[in-house]
Symmetry: C2
Subunit: 202 residues, 2 copies
Amino acid sequence: MRTLGVLIFPEFELLDVFGPLEMFGMLPETFAIRLVAERERNVASAQGPRSVADALFSDAGHYDILLVPGGRGTRREVDNPALLSWLREKAAAADMVASVCTGSALLAKAGLLDGVKATTNKMAFAWVSSQGPRVLWQPQARWVEDAKFVTSSGVSAGIDMSLAVIARCCGEEQARQVALWAEYEWHRDPSWDPFAKIHGVV
Amino acid sequence: MRTLGVLIFPEFELLDVFGPLEMFGMLPETFAIRLVAERERNVASAQGPRSVADALFSDAGHYDILLVPGGRGTRREVDNPALLSWLREKAAAADMVASVCTGSALLAKAGLLDGVKATTNKMAFAWVSSQGPRVLWQPQARWVEDAKFVTSSGVSAGIDMSLAVIARCCGEEQARQVALWAEYEWHRDPSWDPFAKIHGVV
């Protein structure tokens, strides 16, 4: 059983969180999901709907896998020392640290991605990459795996990245099965990224 | 401005709700999102994470568009007279009624789909179709539009269906733009459904 800690903060992007959690949530005997917020339990997403945190920063808690979403709240949270410090502490103890969309801006600002290959949303590429000048930013990638860090591109890319993480944890066949249950056409190739060109990054 | 009422109930499927809401939520000047639950504000999904309802059945409320998710909670809710009665009342007043996955079992059981072409999750096809013997069930379809009803196939199909609804409300170019913002490869063809064969429905 692996504990999956999912950071939520005001104005997180809905699909960055719930795309991955749909996939991990199909395997409840393998992944225990915990939403974690700073101080308030009810957290409103960028789209409005509110989620309830299972734990707060003040609670002790070890997460085998850490998932960091994006959303316009990241523009504020890159300047939140409590959040960056929590990320550094939990990432150090985790086996795997995953991000979706502009979530990698938070990891970068926390210094966790220095010297690491990483990617992000292609529409926000300039801003995100400015948060970590020593990160080896990849302008064209659906997701990037480098040691324990798995960073993905914008919003829906988190679903493909999560299936790759499930394949790493549970085998390719299990990931394929999860995608079928969700009637999801999985992009298995991490270099598939037509959006890099559309959004003018390459 | 159109009000989008999204039904949530215990053990709703996460992506059935939040895939569509990611898409509609990109257009906050067009769609006002309201999560609606029966009696309790905090509602746990099938995958665990809890959402907070913005309104309860007892609140007055008109919804221009109604969205009904699936999830294993539907197996219980098909026998909930309060929920079926709420659905009948709100669907009668709505301009459009959409469902994802086994959400169409609830619409069918409420009698709303009699004589209407509709689809559902292909893994649960036999059970869902047994909830409405007079429904014109379509065994192979990503989504089906028939008058004001738009029913979609399993889980991730709700994203494609939502983009089709956005195209109907706001034009094809707006829907294309929303898909690009989410870095989502939209399946625009409602007859695209490889899962019908994989899950043995056709």
